[in-house]
Every structure is written in structure tokens, then in C-alpha cells.
Symmetry: C2
Subunit: 316 residues, 2 copies
């Protein structure tokens, strides 16, 4: 049995880009993208799963290349009409994007699991990877700030990450556990590598590792776990990663990310701009240009990541 | 006290046109449009009130002049995306139209009454009339046909009224009663007339008269009740009125409508094309051109209706 299956842990935009590269690098059906649902929230009565939808849109070829979030060819008639009726307008929902929220909410209310719904959406969008939520139960990220405690989207979108972060809390449902699709992918004998995408370690990857049992199960899979650095040249490629590291008192550098993941890691992909930090990282390191500006970049970084993981498997 | 207030009972498009004319004919705040909610239904998890929205859009100047339903300047991105995800697409929801369904559903779930929500929407849309649902409790129209029993929208939209109608049933919630806004308008000493708009008597007006106590309260208001014929020249101006009359074994003629309303009526507005039927109608009749093709038509028919009601009040 060739160990060709890959699991990727992904948050939003940065993670989805690498996942898109991984889809090209592995065969049909061999990639499982485990997606953060700690950012999920109920808004206007709709169940919104921002990271799951970013994965679906990116891998389905529907992502908006300009904004990095939402759908391409989007219209905004709903938001204008909602504002006219006095509805909340701080969270921008495009007309096409609304469909996934309305249909997901309807199917959840009908008793389907989030996993089953997302699997069906992925199939209909022609996606060959398995896109699976980290859990079918609720685990919600709350950000403790100088100005108060905020639900994640409140902090991230409404307040645009302006308050100073003191700590990050995960409110875990009593029955929260890894989704069965995650368990299945981890138990598959063809699994060859686990990739932690260059998503925010504190806001996007940490919620996954907080799902009771998931961190242990990742380790128990017995395959190399490799993280791609979200810090490039001492700055975050996108989003509030650097700001949050500063506010949490962590140096904004790639080696701090490797240190943060600790014994979860078997290897670390360091950006070429940060090559000087290699000596501060205790696991094997692969150095490359990790910036993914083009589709070719995504495929190259993905292929290098998998190649690196394969060498770790052989040397184990 | 001048008895200048007017109550109009309205279903969908035809009723909303006359209500729009009545708004011009009476002073600000003096018109109450009581709207059928027997067609309300839950679709995709959203509470949809087709006739209420037609009233809001028509009186708010937002109606789509081409379709007769929905909003003008509408886009359809949501429906395309929903179809892509395998969602139900037989009921066409425009992107702008969605806003009213999502916001109404959210506010109902938060415990507000339909009346309060609609009143707020009307205020925000700059509508000077009071638009009030017939009831804040559920009364649902079901159509018994040769092919089975259908919820109203199933019959009306999905099946496009194709099955043969045998009878019409109203499923009334145990606590159903006229909304308090209807009660208030009926109790107002300034009330001078009640107008039954040229809506479908069987599908749009009958549900209102089936709200426990509403028919009696209309009569008890002690003001003239005048209906405008929805049958013109032996045919329905719009919709399935004529088809349903045939299938229920009722002659498709304006006098059959007057007979259908029976002792509820004090007067009847007959179209000039049906003037020959005047002798078959037992209440006072006013004859005019009732077709409302232009905004001027709406105002004229409204003014004539109110003038006729005033003569009935004086002769009482």
C-alpha cells in the first residue's frame, strides 16, 4: 500500500491556497482538508461557516480573486435591501454566498450533520478533495481583549481586530469530538502525511487542536506532521497573525511558530527570507519560497511540502 | 369627527394596486391595509409572506412593474448559486427580496409579532399607510384538488394552478384571531369605509373572513363595506380567479362575486363592461372602468370607491 493520502489542516484564505496546491499534487480523492469551524457563527438566523466556505469556493474554482473571501461574480442586492429594512449590515453577505448559508441552515435544521452537508456541497461543486469540518459539534473561538470578550466574527469583522488581544478562549460543546470524516481519514492505512497549512496558528489551527482528542489522534496516526510557516520575513502574509503574536507577547518570527506547535511537528517549512532562523528550530526544516501568489506557486509549495514529508517518513 | 379613515382588505397584486390608489385618496396614516397571510409559508427555513410583501413593495414604490411580483431592479445570483448547491428552485427568490424574508424570519424567531415587524418595515420604506397582517397567528390555505391536497404555494407556484380545484380549506391555528392592529383600525371612531379590493375572493379574501371573529367585526364596525369586482367582462384581470370559479361550479361573472360576499356587502363596484349584470346584484352598485393599468387609474378607481362608500354612509 502506497501511503499517498494527505490530510491538510486549514483555516481561511492562506490555508485554502495550499490546499488548492495539494489537490493538484495528490490523486483524486486522496486529499482530506480538515477545516476550522471555530469561526462559525449564527448571523441573521443563518449558520455561517467562513473557513469551510473559503475552502469550498477556493477548491471549487469559485473564489473571488480580488477580495480573497466570498464568491467571484458576486452581486450585493441583498445587503442593500437589508440595510433599507434596518437589518444588520456589518457582516457583508453576497447574494451568491447567501445560498450556501441558507441551504446549510435548512439542512442542519432538518437534522443533517455539517460534515454530510459539506461533503454534498463539495461533490456538487466538482471538488475531488474531501472537505471536512473539524467537528460536527460546536467549538467557538472567543477573543479576550482589553475592551471586553468578543465572539470571533465580532472581533474579526465588526471590530476589524482593533482591540488588543489578551487571550483566546475556545468554548467547547460538552459532546465535541473530531468529525467521523476526520477519524476516517486519520485511520486510513494509505495516509502518508499531515500538513498544517500556513493559517493563523492561534485563531485557525488552535481551535482544531482544541477539539477533544484531535491533537492526540494526529500524533497517533504515525505519519510525519509538517507545518508551513505563516510568517514570512518576520511578518504575516495576510490577516492579524503578527498583531496577535505581538499582543500575546510572542516574537513575530517563524521559529516562534515552530516552537508554538512544539512536539506536534516532525518538520517545518521555513520561508527562504527567514533562512537565518533555521538554527532556532529543533525539528527538520525545509527552506523554500512559501509565498503563493500564483496557481503555479501553490502547486510548487504543495509538492515541496509533500516531498519533504516523504523524506521524513523514510528517515523515521 | 370626520369619518375619513379607510380599511382595505387586500390579497396580492390586484389588491395592492387599489390600496396604492387609496393611499393617494386619503390622508397620511388614514389607510389601513389588512393583508392576507393565508399564503404565508416556510421555504428554505424562511418565513415568506407573499401578499404582505406585495403590499409593502407596491406602496413603497419598489414593485417590479414587469412581473407584477417581487422587487424592481432585482438580481438573481442567489437562485443560481442555490441551484448549483442542489437547493430547491421552484420558488424564485430575488436577491433583494431575500432580505425581507431573512430579516422577518430573524425577528419572528426573536419573538416579535408579524404585525410589529411589518409596521417597522413599512415605516422604513416610507409608507404612510398602515400595512397589517390579518392575524399574527397561522391560518394556512390548502387547496383540495383532483390530484391531492396542496399547500397554497405548492398549488399556486410549483404546480402553477394546473390541478382541478375541488375545494379550499383553511387550517386555522387554535389561537388565531384578528391582529390587534386590525382590531384597532376597526374600533377607530374615524373609520368611514371598508373596501374589499379586487383580489381573489376564494384564495385571498376568504382566508381573512375565516379568521375567527373577523367577519363579524367587519360588520360590527357600522360603516359601509364595498367590494370592487375582480371579474371584468366575464374574466379575471389576473391570476386563477376565473379558473377556480369554474372548478368550484360558480358562474364566472361579477354578480357571482357579489353573491359570494352576501350580507357582508353594502355596495359593489361593477366594471362598465359588466353593466348589464347590475339587475342581478341586490346591493347598491356603482359602475365604472375598474381596470387599473396606470397610476392615474388606481387613484381614480380609489376615489370613486370612496365616493360611493360616502353616499352609502349618508343614505344609511
Amino acid at each position: 500500500m502506497k501511503r499517498e493520502n494527505v490530510i491538510a489542516l486549514s483555516g481561511g484564505v492562506g490555508g485554502a491556497k495550499l490546499a488548492d496546491g495539494l489537490v493538484q499534487a495528490v490523486g483524486d480523492g486522496r486529499l482530506t482538508v480538515v477545516v476550522n469551524t471555530g469561526d462559525d457563527f449564527n448571523h441573521l438566523g443563518l449558520h455561517i461557516s467562513p473557513d469551510v466556505d473559503t475552502a469550498l469556493y477556493t477548491l471549487g474554482g469559485l473564489a473571488n480573486p480580488e477580495t480573497g473571501w466570498g464568491r467571484r461574480d458576486e452581486t450585493w442586492t441583498f445587503m442593500a435591501a437589508l440595510a433599507q429594512l434596518g437589518g444588520e449590515s456589518w457582516f457583508r453577505l453576497g447574494d451568491g454566498d447567501l445560498a450556501i448559508h441558507v441551504e446549510r441552515t435548512r439542512r442542519l435544521a432538518a437534522g443533517e450533520t455539517l460534515s454530510a452537508i459539506i461533503a454534498d456541497f463539495a461533490r456538487r461543486l466538482g471538488i475531488s478533495a474531501h472537505i471536512v469540518p473539524m467537528s460536527d459539534q460546536a467549538l467557538r473561538t472567543r477573543v479576550h481583549c482589553d475592551e471586553g470578550v468578543f465572539d470571533f466574527q465580532d472581533y474579526f469583522v465588526r471590530l476589524q481586530c482593533r482591540p488588543l488581544t489578551r487571550s483566546i478562549e475556545f468554548v467547547v460543546a460538552p459532546d465535541a469530538r473530531p468529525s467521523s470524516a476526520v477519524e476516517q481519514a486519520l485511520a486510513d492505512e494509505a495516509l502518508g502525511a499531515i500538513v498544517i497549512c500556513p493559517s493563523n496558528p492561534y485563531l485557525s489551527i488552535a481551535p482544531m487542536l482544541a477539539v477533544p482528542g484531535l491533537r492526540e489522534r494526529l500524533r497517533a496516526a504515525g505519519v510525519p506532521i509538517v507545518a508551513v510557516s505563516p510568517i514570512v520575513g518576520g511578518a504575516a502574509v495576510k490577516g492579524p497573525t503578527a498583531k496577535i503574536m505581538r499582543e500575546l507577547g510572542v516574537p513575530v518570527s517563524a521559529d516562534a511558530i515552530a516552537h508554538h506547535y512544539g512536539d506536534l511537528l516532525d518538520g517545518f517549512i521555513l520561508d527562504v527570507r527567514d533562512a537565518a532562523l533555521q538554527g532556532h528550530i529543533t525539528v527538520p526544516v525545509h527552506i523554500t519560497d512559501t509565498l503563493m501568489l500564483s496557481a503555479a506557486d501553490r502547486t510548487r509549495v504543495a509538492a515541496e511540502t509533500l516531498g519533504f514529508a516523504a523524506t521524513l517518513r523514510q528517515s523515521a
